[in-house]
Symmetry: D2
Subunit: 407 residues, 4 copies
């Protein structure tokens, strides 16, 4: 057992931290200016492309993707880098071509895509030339139970015909979002986990309507493509757009979610570190009742608790990454659920305290805290609410006692 | 001791509930349409004026104001009515001319205004013809400590000259907001609580700039006038615009805050009732894992806890109202702080669970939950963060043991 | 609506508070001495009888019992008196002949007992001459589901034969405990809530064995009769010992529990007041890091939160009492469950903080805090764990939405 | 970074787990019988000596002690072994000669003792022939601030004279406890952290009175020597009994506490694992409302949360052990405080839920849960309450922002 990062990780962390200081943090006020001046609320501000160029030149690119197509890092090597990008959540992940949902989509294409699919969609994604979306959640059903999915993908000759309604399709409001991976049912009569398939639908396919941007609290997240409601009305695509095989949708979704959760959690820890930093700085610089707010016992309690929770969450996420690398996503099932359950709550708590320490500023557009809060709060229900994951984790924990109890 | 409402309250509750059913709730979708179609994001949608007219005709008007100028209700009689308006928070308080910050401002004018001030500002406010703002919070200091206030109100001959910067001035983005009550320091060298004064500043006074709308978790609250940053740059008003006397600002603020907190808390309880209703309805109508979500034990735990917390908070607020009526705001000091501390947290918890029960819909613009959440979360820091009020309450609690301990 | 106590309550409160000061609090150290010197750990210390005599002389007696047999108070009148007795939980309730489980047993006998049963058992209980026990909980089953009860009560000629095992039978280790009310099944094939009956079993009946005292976090509670494991091995009693009728057991239990919960909750609030007092006094008298501990912000946070929670709980309990008086136990069902769920948790939290403020002393025998904590913690599972009550409350809350959802 | 145990740890874990199964767990009921039959409540039951013999034969001995005197393990190697002993907290640590306070005392003697002191006291302690106590906490002061200590150690010729009162001196009620390490002040006028010294006082020294056993909730912990109040009344010992040097007391205490906290936390995690196991087993085997309690959603929530919290705490403790091994106790300061703050709370939460799942049994002497709870609750205040450690941790976190803020 050894808690030190390996040499490669340390080297990349050093370079990434330099890049954050030299490029990313200075770009934060520029982003605000460009957003304020933008005519189209859904187009990415130019600063993002500038940062992408600079990052790619420095080899800070596609860290998230293991294997030949990406940077070839393990999950354990990538995790601390993802954390660093979380410190500037609106810029750094996109700058490094490591932003959701493209990351998961690239993973799907790298693992399950045909050569043709890889050539047509994976390559421009890897190059950061286009963006993509992942269309799974539906407004009409509890999507946490995959069996509820209502969108149909029906074979018709050489084509598949897709009909359904999706929402909270992140990134889809971005006009550069060129391709959708859509989850639907090819066979509602199959076994529960073999009913679903995934299929590629280019944005300009007739019948696909990006209807409106959904909000997250009051945020549209327009700068990174928003969260769209998307209608699929008899949308026809060639049969070869199917990913892997009919009935593989559930398995692909599972494969996609493991790394996705790790990434979200690591970035969330980066957000927590930034929030703690802001909380310390603010309370040290403001006075009330004759002393810096930082000397109030309750504020010190928040700061200590924040530090402790960050340390706990980081270790749990790192161990999960290590397990995924050593025993695979299946072997890391409990830990992946554990971080899905615990990281967003822990970080939400820290952000809440940082907001409180900033007074009205904390809920405003002048600090990043409220927006980070909204993002992290949403993680508690995105990709299945915490309650579903706890239920599943508990049932696995109980399994070993089941026989013993004769059940 | 008797927990039943009196006859007058019951009668008004009945009429108000009818009005909610016949006018307010049906107006909710209309509000959304008008907002979506509006060209000016800061103007109140016409439906509000329609509702005001209807409410006034029915005598559902100015309930908040005791005495001759208002409906003449006690706090205890008004509280359950305010709760009902909280069930449709964006429409009902405004419809009944019972919306903050006008309510507090009318109270100030009714209690402390000169005849001339009453005639010029109180009358049109009571008639619902204009709106108003209360300019206290400042971005540069911890405003929870009144001694920190930086805005100056300087006497210069027959005028006062006001210089300072305020933010989160609710309602000020509304072009109909005609008058500001501004808190500032007339004498920085006086005893701590006699340095401040309040003064009336008409919106069109030269030097007053409404600079921008501040956000609350992404929401601009544009439909009820937003929360403005306002600059006062050598703003000159006649000396008779001063309210009461120089040095009276702190005392007026205290007098204003007691009822204000009761009102906020009662409306928050109405929001909680609505959220609980939505949580029950949603979880009863959606299925996952073969049964309605409402049959999941964790969801039932939320529902039970929500009911219990609502009952507790309502009673504490009602008792506080009763104390204010019977022993005055000063005698109700502990209880006023107690509800300021506990109601927003309790309601926030309930809204959080209702959001979780709605999945992605919970954070969206399609349900009122996320927006209510943002409003209630902000109450935890508006008008002094909870922590300041807890500190003050504890010190009062400790007072009786102080002598005993020889301190 | 009126939050003032009525004149009778105020008068009794005054007299009871005097008695606490003159007799009960001075008896607390005497109790400790007598317990330390006692040869039999299960016999009540003599000071209790002294206090009973003094209380009875002053008419401070049987307050808990409405109607002709008792003091004739309403629940709303008794509640604030019960709270006061909670401030000296080991002495005051017993001194006033208002201690569980006698109170509930007397209620059962007063409401459902035959004249003969009243004469033989209720009268000496009302006179404080004997003690009694209520034998319901069983070690082998989840007793929160009444259908699980395993003890059988079988008719055999003119007798009933009782067989079963009970535990946590409070008071039964006391040699003065003369009579047991036993819950068992007379007809396992009847409808679920008509299977149970209650029957009177004198302590000296052959076959009844008081086996051992059960602990509560290390405490035997020997001074008030402990909590016994009791075996019933073909115990025969005359048929007229049955209370009311066969099959009435569940209904009697329900009738008994409503007031019982109110009493427990009110006394718990008295404990919380005492704990808060001790916390204030202790932290004001000790110093660390150069100032009284009471000036640490975290301690002030505890004190403020404690005050707020006490006020909330008291109001909820008082309203519940008022409902029981005005609409009956059935109409107060939700509120009775609400206090059962929320009061022990709230008071436990306050006791935990008071313990923490006392350092090692807090967990010791030198302060009453740890023992009060153990008692209050146990209320979270006694008479059905909180979780069962929450589930039931939620299902009632959901009922109104059930039809709407077509379920 | 690598989360696997090394080969030596795995080997020892295997052997220890075997020993737990073959010897320790079977001894648990024997312990209960011997305790019930014991005439002296303070003498260790014979089964402990049997286990010690068996453990020592198997080389499962003195694992806690690094270096030549002990088993030579690193903290990181010992931590998972300590966790295993926590699963049978009343037997396993003592069986392996790894029980507090002997462990800390042996560390002090090994690090700071003179050759003579080692020979006389360390050797029999290492051999498990005697027990020892550590006398630091005082009843009269907030001992969390070392400057408050009131016991005096005064030089008088060739002797030191000790006067003071201590309590919660763990192990001192055991007649085999032969030696006390006493903390007191040799120079009240020195710099704050150089006033204290430590000195060895044999039990039979005149003037030393072991006055009474203190309770922890209702437990005396008699089977492992209780927690004594000890009076030192002009107790004279030879000058060579001083450990290290005058004024070294605070530094020795600090050196002693780091490993002590790790050990406590690791054992607490073992308790949590046992509690989770018991919770699963119990809820799987009991039914209510027609299904095993384990299928109630709220219970599954507890189980999932427990698993998550255990994983978090274990990792944080292991990382702390690794830091102590690699950068020393000083470099691990933040992490040592972090586990001191977070482990007891987390484990307390889990024990609380396990108790709740056991109903009345949970608070009884028939399951280990309530007693484990009392022990873990006490850790929240032993060796300085959590609040003091949070304050210290926060101040260190804030340090880096202090200069920036010009303070």
């Amino acid at each position: 057992m050894d808690f030190a990062f390996d040499a490669k990780t340390e080297e990349l962390r050093g370079r990434l931290l330099d890049f954050m200081d030299s490029h990313v943090h200075p770009a934060e006020p520029v982003l605000e200016e460009q957003l304020a001046a933008a005519s189209d609320p859904w187009s990415p501000p130019p600063i993002v492309e500038d940062l992408k160029k600079a990052a790619r030149e420095r080899g800070l690119w596609n860290f998230f993707l293991p294997g030949e197509h990406g940077a070839g890092l393990t999950n354990l090597q990538y995790a601390p880098l993802a954390e660093i990008t979380g410190r500037s959540i609106r810029l750094a992940p996109a700058a490094l071509n490591c932003a959701a949902p493209d990351t998961g989509n690239m993973e799907v294409l790298a693992m399950f895509g045909s050569d043709e699919q890889k050539k047509r969609w994976l390559e421009p994604l890897l190059a950061g030339e286009i963006r993509s979306a992942f269309a799974m959640t539906e407004p009409e059903v509890a999507s946490s139970d995959a069996r509820n999915i209502g969108t149909s993908i029906r074979r018709d000759g050489d084509e598949y015909v897709i009909t359904g309604r999706k929402w909270y399709i992140t990134g889809a409001m971005n006009p550069n979002c060129a391709i959708f991976i859509v989850m639907g049912k090819t066979d509602p009569d199959a076994a529960p986990h073999q009913q679903q398939s995934m299929i590629l639908v280019p944005r300009d396919t007739p019948g696909l309507t990006v209807k409106r941007g959904m909000s997250v609290f009051g945020y549209t997240d327009g700068d990174h493509g928003g969260h769209a409601e998307v209608l699929f009305d008899d949308v026809r695509v060639p049969a070869e757009n199917l990913i892997a095989a009919e009935g593989a949708g559930f398995a692909i979704a599972q494969a996609r979610l493991g790394p996705g959760r790790i990434h979200h959690c690591m970035r969330a820890i980066g957000m927590a570190e930034r929030a703690l930093e802001m909380m310390c700085r603010r309370t040290m610089s403001r006075e009330a009742f004759g002393k810096p707010i930082a000397e109030q016992g309750v504020v010190q309690d928040w700061i200590a608790e924040s530090r402790v929770r960050i340390e706990q969450q980081r270790l749990l996420v790192l161990k999960t990454a290590w397990l995924m690398d050593t025993v695979g996503n299946q072997g890391a099932h409990t830990e992946i659920q554990a971080i899905k359950i615990s990281t967003p709550s822990a970080v939400e708590w820290i952000l809440d305290k940082a907001i409180q320490a900033h007074g009205a500023g904390g809920v405003s557009q002048d600090f990043a805290l409220a927006e980070m809060w909204a993002g992290v709060r949403t993680l508690r229900l995105a990709d299945g609410p915490d309650e579903v994951h706890k239920r599943s984790l508990a049932r696995r924990e109980l399994k070993k006692y089941r026989t013993e109890a004769g059940r």
